[in-house]
Amino acid sequence: MPIATLRRMILIGLLLAIGAVLSFLNPSFLKLDNLMTLLQEASQTGIVAIGFTLVLITAGIDMSIGAVIAVTAMVCVNFLSYTPIPAFLFIPLSLLTGCLVGLFNGYFITHFKLPEFIVTLASRGILAGIALIIAVKDSDGFVSNVYIQDPVYLSFGGTVGPVYIVTIVFIVLAFLTQFFLKRTRAGTNIYATGANPAAARLSGINTDRSIYGVYMFSGFCASLAAIFISARMMTAMPEFGLGSEMDVIASVVIGGTPFTGGVGDIWGTVIGTLFLALIKNGILKLGISPYVQPIAIGGIIVVVVMFDVWYKAFAEGIAKRSAYRRKQSGEAAAAVAAEADAVAGGDGKGERS
């Protein structure tokens, strides 16, 4: 797919150029510490973005990811505050939160044929409320911040050597998901479901199963990110992750996965995530107000999508012109043949009156 490859090259080039400019303007950018923090932040968004990419490939959207992070974090603090269950047992359990939400989303999308956006937006609202309800409260009924002290739990926010665990998990998850997408039948079915659901069904693909799968995986990824975020912050609040959809969508779109479905992959998302984290980090490093961040992200989304639309029309224009030239030469040959035919069969009927 040379068009997609070229786009990716442009993005990587831009990534390196911005990095170079930043390190020139502020030498502390290149410090190992800063780079690792940048990667750690990119990884937290990136894990969620991997799940979101699969949803976009099926031409769906998942607005519930931010709220899944909130609820998962609340589930964890409940385990920590009220049960003696050790972290290595309840963490896998809490990851099921996201899977359950995905099951719920998938059910309403496939069974009732409701629009993905509406279903997941509704889930987002419901989950945001649930997060508040199950949040740990003080004696007056106010939400209290739980300080996480469990060493096993906190180790998720730690590092191996200079690299954060979340970064390692992100890279491994990216490899596995990319392999799954490209090298298994289930992965191929996800592309087919997004590209042309009618044709996919005609070919015998159970598109409902693909849809259930991607929403459950998206929920799982959001839950996984919740563990890392809360472990890193050493606390959890019920509004955790709400609003992070913006960063996730931006990463995936910058990475080149379109909203129309059937196209996209994890490498694009990884690059998009790094790109976004770099922009955010750069804004901080240049001493610009962090309030500018959302404006920059919004602006980048528009520019990238504009580029994609222009680029697509440009590429299609080239293809169309060459196809037309082929057609023209074919037609000319046919006309000559027809003329020869007409001369040969000269004894046809006369003109009708």
């Binding site: 087919a192 044709a199 070919s203 037609e331 009927k349 006369g350």
Partner: protein
């Protein structure tokens, strides 16, 4: 070879006996017998509405028959047939709208859901998949690469992939619905080569086409349908284009109504088109349109008819040529067309002509904003008056302007589409397939409306596939073929047969 033996075996590949089908009310198919042998190329022909598509839908399980027997390779198929069941049996359809997955390679499409996997592992063996696909492609002598992405292929190449997909799923009956309508002549020639290849492999090919020369050149047998009945099955030696056309139109030939006198209008020229061309759509179109004239435009689907009128109205741009309107140079453009007194009734009226969730008043008002404006705002009273006027003019039922257009019958929806133009000061009306999907009564009313308009001096350009309609209400007929005017019927007598022959490229005085 064993294929030869199979082809000679007494059991037919497909056998349909006394198939009946009605959707609700009129019989679409009645007592239709149809049979196919292995390794046979069989053409199914008939006019629009003869029941070809319905028969195909029944065979492929898209819809179910009401009664009748169906046997595939000697095994009976129950009334409750389904698309999946048809696939399992080995019936494959090459759709006009291709059903390939974009963004995927040829190999991925060929092996979708049946990808070869690494031994003992759930992972796709991409190398093996590509080499198996390439083998299949080479076996049939195509010039495709297994790793080519679908999006980079031409329409003909995509069709090839569809056919390969059918072969790869071990289909023994391949159905092609107008496979050449979007192909160039070289591409069609390639396709015919493929079809012959399929025949050699003992696969039955059921072929639907309007193009007579193809039917003539390719088929072993031809089944002709007319008005939902089988009229004839022609063997190879009996296949002649003129005979097929005669059978398709049938009794209508004896009907005096089918001979119409063309009369060119001698009133002033309203529109003059010179050398109008648009890349890949139509080229070198010249004609004059007179006041009060109904100019029919015939030709097969895909001959460039719709594209031409869209360009005239200014929806799509053209590349070269010029248009003169009322004696002055004219640059087509939608807003200018409306101001200049053009009306346009599109082919897909549900899609392009009406807004189903809005009332009659709103639908009529939207194209006439300039008429119903009062100091810059829409005047509800004027809008309502306008709607009432249209209802009265066209006898729209129910006569309640507040009814949502989506709830009206097809015929009345069409009247709304027409009505919103008629209440304007119209000089030129372009209609594309105005009577598709509406009942006979509504059709008649529509024809009368057109005749009244023409009498009042409005020029009408009528694009239609309905031959009786075209020959009956037109003053003059242009026949398009492959984007060019191939024939003009402007004086003397014309029959449906003449138009159909011209559309199919069989010209009096020409070859064969």
């Amino acid at each position: 070879m064993s294929e030869k033996a199979l082809a000679d075996s007494p059991v037919a590949l497909l056998e349909c006996r006394r198939i009946n089908k009605s959707y609700n009310g009129p019989m679409v198919l009645s007592e239709v017998d149809f049979s196919m042998k292995r390794g046979e190329i069989h053409a199914l022909v008939g006019e629009n509405g003869a029941g070809k598509s319905t028969l195909i839908k029944i065979v492929t399980g898209v819809t179910n028959r009401n009664s009748g027997e169906m046997l595939f390779e000697g095994r009976p198929i129950g009334i409750e047939h389904s698309k999946t069941a048809a696939q399992v049996l080995g019936i494959a359809v090459i759709y006009q709208e291709l059903s390939l997955i974009h963004g995927m390679s040829v190999a991925q499409n060929l092996f979708l859901t049946r990808e070869p996997r690494l031994p003992g592992l759930p992972f796709i063996d991409i190398g093996k998949m590509n080499s198996l696909a390439q083998e299949l492609i080479d076996r049939y002598g195509f010039t495709l690469k297994a790793t080519d992405v679908i999006d980079s292929l031409s329409i003909a190449q995509r069709q090839t992939v569809e056919i390969l997909k059918a072969l790869n799923s071990k289909a023994s009956l391949v159905i092609m619905d107008e496979p050449t309508s979007s192909l160039t002549s070289t591409e069609s020639a390639q396709l015919f080569g493929i079809i012959k290849r399929l025949k050699e492999d003992g696969i039955g090919v059921l072929y639907i086409s309007h193009r007579m020369e193809e039917v003539y050149a390719l088929s072993d047998r031809v089944t002709v349908l007319r008005d939902g009945r089988k009229v004839a099955v022609l063997e190879k030696a009996e296949i002649h284009p003129e005979e097929i056309i005669r059978l398709m139109i049938g009794r209508k030939l004896d009907d005096r109504d089918s001979v119409h006198t063309m009369r060119k209008s001698d009133r002033e020229v309203v529109l003059e088109v010179k050398g109008l061309s648009s890349e890949g759509k139509f080229s070198g179109i010249d004609f004059q349109l007179h006041a009060g004239e109904i100019l029919g435009i015939g030709g097969l689907v895909g001959s460039g008819r719709t594209e031409l009128v869209r360009a005239l109205y200014g929806i799509d741009p053209h590349d070269s040529g010029s248009v003169e309107y009322l004696g002055k140079p004219w640059e087509p453009g939608v807003a200018g067309s409306i101001r200049g007194g053009f009306g346009f009734i599109p082919e897909e009226r549900r899609l392009q002509g009406i807004m189903g969730l809005i009332s009659m008043t709103g639908n009529i008002g939207i194209t006439n904003i300039d008429v119903i404006r009062k100091m810059g705002f829409v005047s509800d009273r004027k809008e309502l008056d306008l709607a009432r006027k249209a209802i009265g003019l066209l006898n729209i039922k129910p006569a309640d302007p507040s009814v949502l257009v989506g709830n009206l019958s097809g015929g009345n929806q069409q009247k709304i589409v027409v009505g919103k133009w008629l209440i304007r000061d119209l000089k030129l009306l372009i209609v594309d397939e105005p009577t598709v999907g509406i009942d006979i009564g509504a059709k008649e009313e529509m024809y009368q409306t057109f005749a009244r308009l023409a009498e009042a001096g409005v020029s009408i350009i009528l694009v239609s596939s309905d031959l009786p309609e075209l020959t009956r209400i037109s003053h003059r007929i242009l026949v398009l073929r492959k984007g060019r005017i191939i024939k003009e019927f402007s004086e003397g007598q014309v029959t449906e047969e003449d138009v159909l022959k011209a559309s199919s490229g069989i010209l009096p005085g020409g070859a064969k």
